[in-house]
């Protein structure tokens, strides 16, 4: 069991190193995710954000714009995650209140 787990760990690490050999250099502005167009010719989202965040939202902070406008559905989902966590703590831990504490 233990040996198997160690094998899993080592395999994971080796797999990751193998993958990292194919990564582009860090900081290389020519890496694919920093380009204007993707390989298939569609717009590359990050460069669109840099170009047009200010124009679309009158907000200089690009991260805010992406968070709350371009990808705001993600943020709604993530707020829901927090709500879920709160409700689960409620579900598991909160004692039942008597009418007395509520006042």
């Amino acid at each position: 069991m233990k040996v198997g787990n160690y094998i899993v760990l080592i395999t994971f690490f080796v797999l990751m190193i193998y993958a990292s050999l194919g990564f582009p250099n860090r900081g290389d502005a020519n890496a694919r995710m920093h380009q204007e167009k993707s390989l298939a010719g569609s717009i590359n989202a990050p460069s669109y954000y840099i170009h047009y965040a200010e124009r679309d939202d009158h907000t200089p902070n690009m991260v805010t714009v992406i968070l709350a406008d371009y990808r705001s559905y993600d943020t709604l989902g993530e707020e829901t995650v927090i709500l879920t966590a709160g409700l689960i703590c409620f579900l598991l831990l909160r004692k039942k209140r008597t009418a007395n504490d509520q006042k």
């Binding site: 860090r26 900081g27 902070n61 991260v63 805010t64």
Partner: protein
């Protein structure tokens, strides 16, 4: 991107992570984990992600630490490994 700063921070990250995982006293482990979070926040800022660094400093080093400490006080402080 400043490799010197980043490598230093990475080494500290590894050290604090190892400490957090190996110390037997859970309180020490949690304090070490808070340091880990804070250093990672510095690392994000060194890499240019100001927003993420800010969030990590507030959430990772602040609230998570508080929650961890509550957990330990509610349960037990010693760990077998």
């Amino acid at each position: 991107m400043h490799p010197e700063i980043e490598i230093t921070l990475f080494v500290f990250l590894l050290i604090t992570a190892v400490v957090a995982l190996t110390v037997k006293n859970l309180l020490t482990a949690v304090v070490s984990l808070t340091v880990f979070s804070f250093i990672s926040a510095l690392l994000y800022i060194a890499m240019g992600a100001v927003d993420v660094g800010f969030t990590e400093a507030v959430i990772g080093a602040g609230v998570t630490g508080v929650l961890f400490i509550i957990l330990i006080f509610k349960t037990s402080r010693r760990s077998a490994d």
